[in-house]
Each structure stands twice: as structure tokens, then as C-alpha cells.
């Protein structure tokens, strides 16, 4: 009997490298379909403004233009959903303002799309977009995460204090008791700054509609085409799921930013039927900066209660998390389920982590978008209570610090490197 080589321990070469190395990969922007048309989005230059009027007449008459759409044309379709509904401490549901595909009445971040231009070429689409006349009533901006709840400017009317929810996990009474009897309390202020994922491949989509069988095909830079299809068909466009095929070809990096259902591909799928020809869109890098889901942007106060021997008794963390101008598909679960549950790390000891993230909205001047799973991924390494060696218990030398941490490991002896 011939020996079967086990795979474990062997170096296995990847299958996809050949096509990537030779320029034979197929990324979404590589695709040009017969009868292709090109899309360009007009985006708000203001972080916060009321849309008094939008006049697209000159744009619609521009050379090569097939159509110009605004939210008025999209009336009747749903908003982009937030798929994780959090309840506040008092049991009330979180605020869930509508995230329209194209801005209605207000724009809430720089880059917020308010019109879609479809033309024979990208050059013509961009030229036509420049002819769209928008009357903005500029409003005060909210750019400071820590101060957003006190800013006096509501980004969404249904959240006058810009707070989406106030959530908590843990045993408050036990934690408070542990702090009361602690021999030592260390308190840290930590800012986990906002991140822009910046995959080298910008987001892109190519949508087409077939009259032959009333079906849609969407090529899109998605990390999860099934989720994309479900959300788009069930929650926004009201289409039967089996009539929409979503294809993620080779994708040039995502890092979480390509998880979500975005306005652009949704608008393209909707418009493909109206225009009757395939529509292609690729973000430019400045659009990626403005409109890809951002990560992190947490402001925290973390407190650790210790006994005389340096053993951890309790951990209390208060985090204000910026969810952005609009909720991304999973915005609300990032600073809650995917963050607070990780704060205790591998450490045992009493009742750990009373964490109170309160998601608040910031209509940032230069940025946008709610947290993505990137925030959670990073928070596994950077959350305040991961007890980075710099966590200043007092002024211990490294050996003492390590000893203290070891004493707080669970009895099962789960290690930590």
C-alpha cells in the first residue's frame, strides 16, 4: 500500500497565484460588457447640508448621457439596511434612521451620493455631473466623536443627541463592588483612532438587466456575494432573490470594507433595468477614502481594579464609538458584540468588563461611514483591556508586570503570548 502524504506540515502552493502574477486575474473593473455604459455619482462636498433643490436638466441634455437619477426617481425602494439591531440598557431599540441609496432631503457626510449619471463614457458622465445644480443649505457639522452627544446638532432627526444606543454587558453591581474594595485602580483614557481600510483595488460594480428572463446580473467587489444579494433583493429593491445573480470575481483586498451592501451597486442594479444596458462603476481613490466603511474611531475610559498582590479584580470600560453618518450593514454590532465580549481577553478574575459603548453619530468633515468589522478585528489587539504591557499598573519593571498578568490567568492555564 502506498503511503499517503499528509498535508499537515507541507508547504502547499496557492492555485490562484499564476493568474495574478501574469496579469490574467479578473477583477471587477477589468470587465467590460457589450453595450457598456458608465456611471458617475455626484457627491456632496459638504459634511452636513439640507438639499433645497437638485436641477439635473442640463446634465440630462449633456452629450452621451442616457440618464440622471436622484432619490426622487428611487422613491419606493427601501434604504440600505443595518442588519444587527441592538437594544439599549433600558430595553429600548436602537435608533435606526433610514440610509437612502441616494440622499433625500439631507446630505450627512462629505461624499454622500445624491445623483447618479449614466453615460456612454466615463468622461461624458463626469462632465454631465458637473452640470447638476444643487442648492445646499449648509448645516453645522459634528466631527468630534467624544463630543458628538453634546454638539447640539442632530445628524438624524430621530436621534436629537446623536446617540444610536447605549448598550452594556457585564455585572455592574459586582464590578462596582470590586472597585470599591480594590487596593489599586488604574484608569486610562484611550483613543482608538479612525481607520480607512484602503484596499488597493477600489470598490467597483457592473450591473445588467436581461429583459429575456427579467433577471439581473451584478459583478461587484464583495467579500460576501450571497449576503449582498439577500440584502439588496429583500430589503432594498424588493426583487425575487433567484432573479438576481451576484458575482464576486477576483477581489483586490477588502479588510472588511467590502462586506457591506453599498449605495453604488444597489443604484446600478436598479438603474440597469431603466437604462436597458449594463452600467459600470469604479470608485476613484478619493471616493474610497470618503465612502468605504471606516473602522474604529472609539474614545474610551478604561479602569482596572486590582488587589494588593496585583491580581485583577474587575475591569470597567466606557466607550463612545463613532458609527458614522449612516449605519453600515453591521455597524451596531461592532462596538458591542464584536468588541465588548473580547475585552476580558484571556484573563480570569471576578466579574470582568462592564462595557458601555454608546454609539454616536458623527457627520465628519472629511470622513464618513460607520465602523466595519475592521474595528472589531483591530480591537482584539488594541482594546484597552487587552492589557498591553504599557497598561500602567504603577511603575513595575517588565518581570513584575508579566508576573502580575500570569497571576490573573484562568486556572485552566490557557496561555497567552
Amino acid at each position: 500500500m502506498s503511503a499517503v502524504q499528509p498535508l499537515i506540515g507541507r508547504s502547499i502552493e496557492r492555485k490562484e497565484d499564476y493568474r495574478f502574477l501574469t496579469g490574467a486575474g479578473q477583477y471587477t473593473d477589468d470587465i467590460i460588457l457589450p453595450q457598456q455604459t458608465y456611471a458617475w455619482f455626484l457627491r456632496s462636498p459638504h459634511a452636513h447640508a439640507r438639499l433645497r433643490s437638485i436641477d439635473t436638466s442640463a446634465a440630462r441634455a449633456a452629450p452621451g448621457v442616457l440618464a440622471v437619477f436622484t432619490s426622487k426617481d428611487l422613491a419606493g425602494i427601501g434604504g440600505l439596511p443595518c442588519g444587527w439591531l441592538i437594544k439599549s440598557i433600558d430595553g429600548s431599540p436602537m435608533k435606526e434612521p433610514k440610509h437612502p441609496v441616494l440622499a433625500e432631503e439631507k446630505v450627512r457626510h462629505v461624499g454622500d451620493p445624491l445623483a447618479l449619471v449614466v453615460a456612454e463614457s466615463l468622461v461624458q458622465a463626469k462632465a454631465a455631473a458637473a452640470l447638476i445644480e444643487v442648492d445646499y443649505e449648509v448645516l453645522p457639522v459634528v466631527v468630534d466623536t467624544a463630543m458628538a452627544a453634546k454638539s447640539g446638532t442632530a445628524v438624524h432627526d430621530m436621534a436629537p443627541d446623536n446617540v444610536c444606543y447605549t448598550w452594556a454587558i457585564g455585572d455592574k453591581a459586582a464590578v462596582d463592588a470590586a472597585f470599591a474594595r480594590a487596593d489599586h485602580i488604574t484608569r486610562l483614557s484611550i483613543v482608538n483612532n479612525r481607520l480607512i481600510p484602503n484596499a488597493i483595488e477600489p470598490r467597483a460594480a457592473n450591473a445588467s438587466y436581461s429583459r429575456a428572463d427579467d433577471s439581473y446580473t451584478l459583478y461587484v467587489t464583495s467579500q460576501n456575494p450571497h449576503v449582498e444579494r439577500l440584502l439588496m433583493t429583500a430589503f432594498v429593491l424588493g426583487l425575487p432573490e433567484h432573479k438576481v445573480r451576484v458575482i464576486a470575481p477576483d477581489v483586490g483586498g477588502g479588510f472588511g470594507s467590502k462586506i457591506y451592501l453599498y449605495a453604488e451597486e444597489t443604484a446600478l442594479v436598479w438603474a440597469a433595468r431603466r437604462v436597458g444596458r449594463p452600467i459600470k462603476w469604479t470608485a476613484e481613490r478619493h471616493e474610497s477614502f470618503l465612502t468605504d466603511a471606516h473602522g474604529r474611531d472609539h474614545v474610551s475610559i478604561a479602569e482596572l481594579a486590582l488587589d494588593r498582590g496585583g491580581k485583577f479584580l474587575a475591569l470597567r470600560v466606557h466607550t463612545t464609538a463613532n458609527l458614522g453618518a449612516y449605519l453600515s450593514t453591521f455597524a451596531s454590532c461592532i462596538p458591542t458584540i464584536l468588541y465588548a465580549t473580547l475585552l476580558a481577553g484571556q484573563y480570569a478574575g471576578g466579574r470582568l468588563s462592564r462595557c458601555r459603548p454608546s454609539g454616536s453619530r458623527v457627520s465628519a468633515r472629511a470622513h464618513r461611514r460607520a465602523c466595519g468589522p475592521r474595528a472589531a478585528h483591530r480591537s482584539r489587539r488594541a482594546a484597552p483591556a487587552q492589557l498591553h504591557p504599557r497598561f500602567p499598573l504603577c511603575q513595575p519593571c517588565r518581570a513584575q508586570l508579566r508576573h502580575r498578568r500570569l497571576r490573573s490567568y484562568p486556572q485552566s492555564g490557557v496561555g497567552f503570548c
Binding site: 496557492r14 495574478f20 483595488e201 483586490g252 476613484e284 481613490r285
Partner: protein, 157 residues
């Protein structure tokens, strides 16, 4: 306003009409359908569009197609042998796991070939400096540097 350009691309003569303001990257990708050259930014920062112009690495998003008039352009497709094998640089990237999503890879390979061709015995520091114009979000660069050093040995450089 259109201009007619005549150039060589991957060894073959090409004659085409282009808008005067068309960048070389757009011309290669959309008119010649050589999509191995990628566009990752608006500012000539990322290097995903790197090709060779008369044998030297350039960022094709920063070169007008019209500037290639009468010159030779080589893309990632052009350095790939037609028999299914790999250029030593490509082989080294594969062996050293110097790519993940692959989007920066053609530009990285083109830049690295220029680097190794024109700098003998390049040190790690020189490789890192030479690739400064090419960004990668996936690999963290170490395996790319290893790949370039390995390819240099194979290429006798």
C-alpha cells in the same frame, strides 16, 4: 480632441486613435484590453499601474498614451513567457508567497524587474527603497522583498 499614436506593445506594433488626455493605463486596459495593469489610486501613489516604457518602469497612470508615441511599452502580460512558464521574478513571488489578493502584484513585479535589471547586488535596503513607489495592503512587504532578492540571484544579478 483625438490623436493617432503608433507604438509597440509587448513586442507588437499598435496603431490607435486616442483622446489626447487619455492616460497610458486607460489605453492599455480599455482599448487594448490588457487588464493586467491595474489602477489603485488617483495620485500616482500606489504603483499598481507600473509598466515598462522603453525598458524602464513608469507609472502608466501618470503617462499620457500620446507620450508613448514611437516607443515600446511592456506590460505584465509581456514579461510572461508564452509557454506557460514564469519569468524568474514571477516564480520567486510565487515561491515566497509575495502576493495575496494579487492587485498590486503586476505593478510590483514590473517595478522589481526594472530594479534588479539596473541594480546589481541590490541589498534588502535598496530593494525596499526601490519598491517605495509600490503599495501593498495585504502582505506587509517582507515576502515581496524576499522574492525580489531570490529572483535577483536566479537572474544572475
Amino acid at each position: 480632441m483625438s490623436v493617432t499614436i503608433q507604438l509597440k506593445v509587448n513586442g507588437r506594433p499598435v496603431s490607435a486613435e486616442v483622446r489626447a488626455d487619455t492616460m497610458l493605463s486607460t489605453f492599455l486596459r480599455e482599448q487594448l484590453r490588457l487588464t493586467g495593469t491595474h489602477v489603485g489610486c488617483d495620485t500616482g501613489s500606489c504603483g499598481a499601474c507600473t509598466v515598462h516604457l522603453d525598458g524602464r518602469a513608469v507609472k502608466s497612470c501618470n503617462v499620457l498614451a500620446a507620450q508613448a508615441q514611437g516607443r515600446e511599452v511592456t506590460t505584465i502580460e509581456g514579461v510572461t513567457p508564452v509557454d506557460g512558464s514564469l519569468h524568474p521574478m514571477q516564480a520567486a513571488f510565487k515561491a515566497c508567497h509575495g502576493l495575496q489578493c494579487g492587485f498590486c502584484t503586476p505593478g510590483m513585479v514590473m517595478c522589481a524587474i526594472d530594479l534588479v535589471t539596473h541594480h546589481e547586488h541590490a541589498t534588502d535596503e535598496q530593494i525596499r527603497a526601490g519598491l517605495e513607489g509600490n503599495l501593498c495592503r495585504c502582505t506587509g512587504y517582507h515576502n515581496i522583498v524576499r522574492a525580489v532578492a531570490q529572483a535577483a540571484k536566479v537572474m544572475g544579478r
